[in-house]
Symmetry: C2
Subunit: 219 residues, 2 copies
């Protein structure tokens, strides 16, 4: 990506704040994961199922980003864990300053895991480091297996690709093998997982991955 000077300056400032967040997360042993996908790929539903699967004493919190509405925070707030909405007022991505502000008043020492749901956008969130330990990209099988080729930025940088809505595989022309081949062509070390948050298929693997990430760091 060729960047105009101002964009470089904005990203430089973002990186500075993100580095501070990363230090704080490390100091308190909080694993922070940044979930990125297109609109409607199933980030919120997956997080609902995730929170619903945790024991009540699990030390987890969620920040959820949207351009407008606090619908997602309402959906996610039902599970008894701390949830905060970041409304970006038009911005197409979360940045480190928004995350920094949203964390005000939270005791990071009380957390093991911080899940960040980014704004639904497969492009812009990729460039903004939030201090996370890893980016996770969700790709729903309704979107087509060519997306890693067309949006290489996020598929190059994500530690894990979650193929969502696999209950719809019988009804859509989606080639799982090709999707994985395209993604690993950009990013050979990428983990891949298939699930349906709707039916629960594959959720066990996802929860095990999260547990492992929260305990041992990225696989």
């Amino acid at each position: 990506m060729s960047r105009i000077p101002l964009e470089r300056k904005v990203l430089g400032e973002n990186d500075r704040i993100a580095a501070g967040l990363r230090e704080r997360f490390a100091a308190h042993q909080v694993r922070c994961l940044n979930l990125i996908s297109s609109p409607g790929s199933g980030k919120t539903l997956l997080l609902e199922k995730t929170l619903g699967s945790f024991r009540p004493d699990r030390r987890v919190a969620v920040l959820t980003g949207d351009i407008q509405t606090d619908n997602d925070a309402v959906r996610l707030g039902r599970y008894g864990f701390p949830v905060r909405q970041i409304t970006t007022a038009g911005a197409c991505h979360l940045d480190a300053r928004m995350v920094d502000r949203a964390l005000e008043g939270w005791q990071l020492a009380g957390l093991d895991l911080l899940l960040i749901e980014n704004v639904g956008n497969l492009v812009c969130p990729t460039s903004y480091d939030l201090g996370e330990e890893a980016k996770i990209v969700l790709l729903s099988v309704t979107e087509g297996e060519d997306k890693p080729l067309k949006y290489p930025g996020i598929f190059s940088r994500a530690s894990l690709m979650v193929l969502t809505k696999i209950d719809l595989l019988p009804y859509v022309p989606f080639d799982v093998g090709k999707a994985v081949e395209y993604a690993r062509g950009l990013n050979p070390a990428m983990d891949v997982m298939e699930l349906s948050a709707m039916t629960g298929q594959g959720l066990g693997n996802w929860m095990a991955w999260l547990d492992s990430a929260a305990t041992h760091g990225m696989p």
Copy 2:
């Protein structure tokens, strides 16, 4: 959307170029439509079916935008109509200058209809006028009926909302009535259409809408 000064400047420059494009389209009676959606909502497949439905003497051309790859131009180039790929090299939207450059060497006098497929992104393309007569937003039923609320920018500005992939309605929790209610709450004059490019259902309405738009301007 609150805009930083540079963003205002960039958009001001874009608006100036877009105004020039709009004048040229008007001078040659070319109707230009700007298709915007999330990644994987079915823009390219709908355009393939559209081009495949036109008579060979139809005076139509397509510009198709992507961050990487010319896959869409290859797919769309099979139908015998002029097609050009705009590869944005990282940019998350098309802008008027890209369109201006891509039109070089084309005789606008030979066209009635110019279809522009924007980069897959429900946010950023909204702010960039391309000199089009109308924006069309596609929303696939797999994305959820809440998207007009969460991405109000494009749903406020589009003349037509096309609900795509309606063949999947039996398998997804999508409330068509609510989607329309949310979109019209932002934009009471918006046209709405439902179709499946895969099965062909609703394509007749779409072709009729396009014909009417190309002949008489926006409904």
